[in-house]
């Protein structure tokens, strides 16, 4: 999922200062899942804004703000509703969803979150980055564990010499991912996969903006 972090509420209020009527849109996918921009947070922010003199014209949180048809369809059109009733939209969806809103309405759209990463969730509170969407997946050869996303230097030929007692030198609160890769491949009897010299990555697969078009 895409994880987001809600901006400080006073900062959001500051960003919305030029406007009076505000429509709040959250997202039940990533933002909701990581409890920083779902329906619950959208109502919380709306409450704060009301206390600070704003008029809340609506609060909605579709299951997928990054899907145009969920925002705007003949049966249900959140965007039209927001546009006709408000001076501005506050979006708690990820950067993708927020842009999709912005390019389909004529009123200003303000984001209330910072989009963080593509990650996984554990125990309903730990979220970790697992993928950087490099477009050229290597994890079949690294025990299903991505060194591109989970090593700050994105090393693919083995660890650097900087790990201190098994911890990453860049962030000692996380283990060097190459220890995990080693133990996983060891248990699969596949350590020899790491003997191959991996050639330089082709970064063309990482040049944005990228597109995917499905065949009819």
């Amino acid at each position: 999922m895409v994880t987001v972090k809600l901006k400080p509420l006073f900062e959001i209020a500051q960003l919305l200062k030029p406007y009076t009527r505000v429509f709040v849109i959250g997202c039940q996918l990533g933002s909701g899942r990581c409890k920083n921009g779902g329906l619950r947070e959208a109502f919380k922010v709306a409450g704060y804004l009301e206390l600070h003199g704003f008029k809340i014209s609506g609060v909605k949180s579709p299951g997928g703000t990054c899907i145009l048809e969920r925002l705007s369809s003949p049966e249900r059109d959140i965007l039209k509703e927001a546009e006709s009733s408000s001076d501005a939209i506050l979006s708690l969806a990820c950067g993708a969803g927020t842009q999709l809103i912005a390019e389909n309405v004529s009123i200003p759209v303000i984001t209330g979150v910072n989009t963080l990463f593509i990650g996984v969730e554990r125990e309903r509170k730990y979220f970790d980055e697992y993928c950087v969407a490099c477009g050229d997946c290597v994890i079949s050869e690294t025990g299903g564990i991505c060194p591109v996303a989970r090593c700050p230097k994105s090393l693919i030929n083995g660890p650097c010499g900087g790990a201190i007692a098994g911890k990453c030198e860049v962030d000692p609160s996380i283990p060097c991912i190459w220890y995990k890769i080693e133990s996983r491949l060891d248990s699969l009897n596949s350590l020899s996969l790491l003997e191959r010299k991996v050639p330089p990555k082709d970064y063309r697969s990482w040049v944005y903006p990228r597109r995917l078009v499905l065949e009819e």
Partner: protein
């Protein structure tokens, strides 16, 4: 005889490390190493070590050459993509720099400009392979060079980092990619020095064991924080007892260098420290001093 020839001659090698200045005044650094002229076989020039901005290592390398020293240009993957690396390497060779020590490099956030964008387009293995490709007269994309370099390529190894099996695998990849000599992180134990020398030699490269004289208990603890298993407890407790830890640390390092000269191929002083004393020591190792 240049560094490359010395390495193949089997001579016991001594390299040392200097950092370019933070600024443009390089004179003091060159003056400070003058006692080591003709004694240290080559000087590594660090590339914005610990991610702190210094004058370009390439420029410093050219200055050393002009002053009659042989440089080993260190180049990291931290700040340059493959286009800049190839360009800088060709430029270095055109200026007469033949020796390289290639590595991944410290991460940007550990330095004094942590806001910088990290590059890491290549890793150390790929960078070594790139230098080997230039040596063969080609760019990474296969295009022919007009005038090709003949670099003597080195790399680094940290015997204290893990996971050990993968460190060894990567060391092997570096040597297969073209590294002819390997300089290590500081070692404080003869047994480790011996094991590493054997390991590097078994892959076909020449080991230069890193030595960094400890000046104080504080410094010992700092190194212990970076590489917990590298500093033996006996060294720490000795430093606690002695009156002059700097003297003790220096003698300890020289003793270790003497032992390495019995079985190893060379040492790499990661700090010039006391140039005149280091010069005297090198004379002693070479059998020219008073002992």
């Amino acid at each position: 005889m240049g560094f490359k020839e010395k390495v193949s001659s089997g001579k016991f090698l001594i390299t040392a490390e200097i950092a370019p200045p933070r600024g443009t005044d390089w004179g003091g650094i060159v003056n400070s190493i003058s006692p080591l002229k003709g004694k240290v076989d080559a000087f590594n020039i660090t590339d914005c070590q610990r991610s702190m901005v210094r004058m370009s290592a390439l420029s410093m390398g050219k200055i050393l050459l002009d002053k009659g020293y042989e440089p080993i240009l260190q180049l990291t993957c931290r700040d340059r993509n493959r286009i800049a690396l190839q360009s800088d390497l060709l430029g270095a060779y055109a200026l007469g720099i033949e020796n390289l020590c290639l590595m991944t490099g410290d991460f940007t956030t550990l330095g004094d400009q942590p806001e910088a964008k990290p590059v890491f387009d290549l890793d150390s293995v790929q960078l070594i392979e790139l230098a080997t490709t230039l040596n063969s007269g080609k760019l990474l994309n296969g295009k022919e060079l007009k005038g090709s370099p003949s670099f003597f390529i080195g790399a680094v190894f940290n015997p204290f980092s893990g996971p050990y099996r993968l460190q060894v695998l990567k060391l092997k990849k570096k040597i297969e990619a073209g590294a002819k000599f390997i300089q290590t992180q500081p070692v404080y134990d003869e047994k480790v020095a011996k094991e590493v020398s054997e390991l590097v030699s078994s892959f076909g490269a020449v080991p230069l064991i890193g030595l960094l004289p400890i000046k104080s208990l504080k410094m010992a603890n700092f190194i212990k924080r970076l590489n917990p298993s590298s500093v033996p407890d006996s060294l720490v407790s000795a430093l606690e007892k002695v009156k002059d830890p700097a003297r003790y640390g220096w003698e300890y390092t020289l003793d270790l260098a003497r032992s390495i000269s019995e079985f190893g191929r060379g040492v790499h002083f990661m700090l010039v420290g006391k140039p005149q004393e280091l010069a005297n020591f090198i004379d002693e190792l070479n059998g020219k001093g008073e002992g």
